[in-house]
Symmetry: C2
Subunit: 327 residues, 2 copies
């Protein structure tokens, strides 16, 4: 019998979950839950659409609810609320608030005897795992995270808010020389700005002052001021044609040493190159939904993260198959 998945929220991530579930024969999608009027929403693959208000009554029909809302305002309230009724998975990614989110979900899920896996995805998520494993193994060493090349939604939005800008896409790009130094095991001290540069593709309104827009971008505090930033003005057609996707990726590198006097260097690198950031994130959430379901069946209740989950629980294969095939 397959694991029945509900999708709560239907943006890029929700669509990604819909498509990811189809790639996993042990899972089925029951439907999408939306705050919009259900009849106005049509899903990619024709899933049933329900109002979020119908969710609590469908407790018996859904094994795991995957929450696909945003971290700023949706998930902090939705995940604890839904953990009363369902095993839940989310991608809460406001790094500084994760402990507080885990505590809030823990309180509800434990009481309801449900299992939650929160902050799943690639960062937090797969990158967090890479940091944990490599740090546990190479206890003397330094960690580096490089993001990109990829589209940063937050930075793209920040450019769009500038007067005279119609649309924009911002790429975060690792600085090649910084990456090279880290890979060689040189353990340099690097700020985020020394590790990354920013490339912006901007569509301006006709007659807008391009020099002023460029200045506002490169001098924008927090977002761009500390970084080497390049601005290109292009047409809306060019933006759609050449920058329509949501690629992303990055790498976590740990450089460490062993031996009597640290004479042996070791470099562990975990890297992702993703054509679609939301679809990859969705694929991680779906594997976590399987794990949440299994953990709850075994009576392991409460709020977990990917760092807590025994790896075998994420795979569709049995432990016996995995031991025989992967070890």
């Amino acid at each position: 019998m397959s694991i029945r998945i509900g999708i709560y929220g239907y943006g890029n991530l929700g669509r990604g979950v819909e498509l990811a579930v189809r790639q996993n024969p042990d899972l089925t999608c029951v439907g999408v839950f939306t705050r919009r009027a259900p009849e106005t929403l049509k899903t990619c693959t024709g899933l049933p659409v329900y109002s979020v208000n119908d969710a609590p009554a469908m407790q018996a029909d859904i094994d795991v609810m995957i929450l696909c809302g945003g971290s700023a305002t949706d998930l902090p309230t939705q995940t604890p609320q839904l953990a009363q009724y369902f095993n839940v998975v989310d991608s809460f990614d406001t790094h500084a608030k994760i402990p507080q989110h885990v505590a809030a979900v823990q309180a509800v899920a434990e009481k309801a005897r449900k299992t939650a896996i929160v902050s799943a995805g690639w960062d937090p998520g797969m990158f967090s795992l890479a940091r944990l494993y490599s740090g546990a193994v190479l206890s003397a060493g330094c960690d580096y995270t490089f993001w990109g090349k990829g589209v940063s939604q937050g930075h793209s939005d920040a450019i769009r808010r500038i007067e005279g800008v119609l649309d924009a896409r911002q790429y975060t790009i690792p600085v090649p020389s910084a990456l090279e130094a880290v890979r060689k095991g040189e353990t340099p001290v690097l700020t985020a700005a020394q590790k990354h540069e920013r490339e912006c593709f901007v569509v301006a309104k006709e007659g807008a002052d391009l020099a002023r827009i460029e200045k506002e971008i490169v001098e924008m505090p927090n977002y761009f001021a500390d970084y080497h930033t390049t601005v290109h003005f292009i047409t809306q057609e060019e933006l759609q044609r050449d920058h329509g996707g949501l690629p992303h990726g990055g790498r976590v590198i740990r450089s460490g040493e062993t031996g009597l006097n640290g004479e042996h260097k070791h470099v562990i690198e975990y890297s992702l190159k993703l054509d679609s950031n939301p679809e990859f994130t969705a694929s991680v959430l779906v594997a976590c939904a399987r794990a949440a379901y299994r953990l709850q069946k075994e009576g392991v209740y409460g709020c977990k993260t990917m760092l807590d989950v025994p790896p075998v629980y994420l795979s569709a294969k049995s432990r016996e198959e995995l031991l025989a095939a992967l070890l």
Copy 2:
């Protein structure tokens, strides 16, 4: 109170464990157990040396015994035998026999209420984890493992057995074009020989027939015949000077697709570049010793592998610290 480690067997791996424990303040080494006469063995850091016959009587002094013998003849008997008395960790790496080894250790450890983690290291071990995670997330895709550049002990030994050879070192090297194709997400079908080439550095006896030795190497079935193999004759001094270390490494790459019609490609790559194969393996064993100790304290008995262990158990940091720092 620190976790008390015993080292069972004192070759390259045992020395690696001795040094790795020093890098982890939550662990202490109680001593080394050897089949040799203890008084003939002096350890790198002056650890006490005991006879293997003394081990069972020291049950109360040791929290985890790390087995540092070979997979061919030592571990298949030693690990089940010692699991009667101790939590144990080993690096059993005869891939085809792992399920059988797990079953043998499980029977003993469960009965003795001890916890074992077997087949730890980097392959099996960290590479197995990379395969599991990336396969669970990208369910539609292909896996590739490339080994090297690094010294293969088995292949070096095979060359040494040829008449007229004094010493030898064999490097396994990934074929750059194969690696490039896989990284681009091309999912080619590749045999081990299409992914790797072999480079051999050989010290021959004076007057030996070099052409005959080279022919015997490149035509050796299983080891070399299917591979592009290069042979260099060098002096013993050159071998020691330029090829004295035991570097190794490799990468596990999964290339997969998502979307409505597989239109988005994703590549996950996990790579290791190691100056010292045995010291890195030892560092993994030491992290697993910490996990075995904690699992046993919580009543999780029996034989585990790295695929079964919740990641947080491997780290010296508390779960709270890890959630705050890594997610």
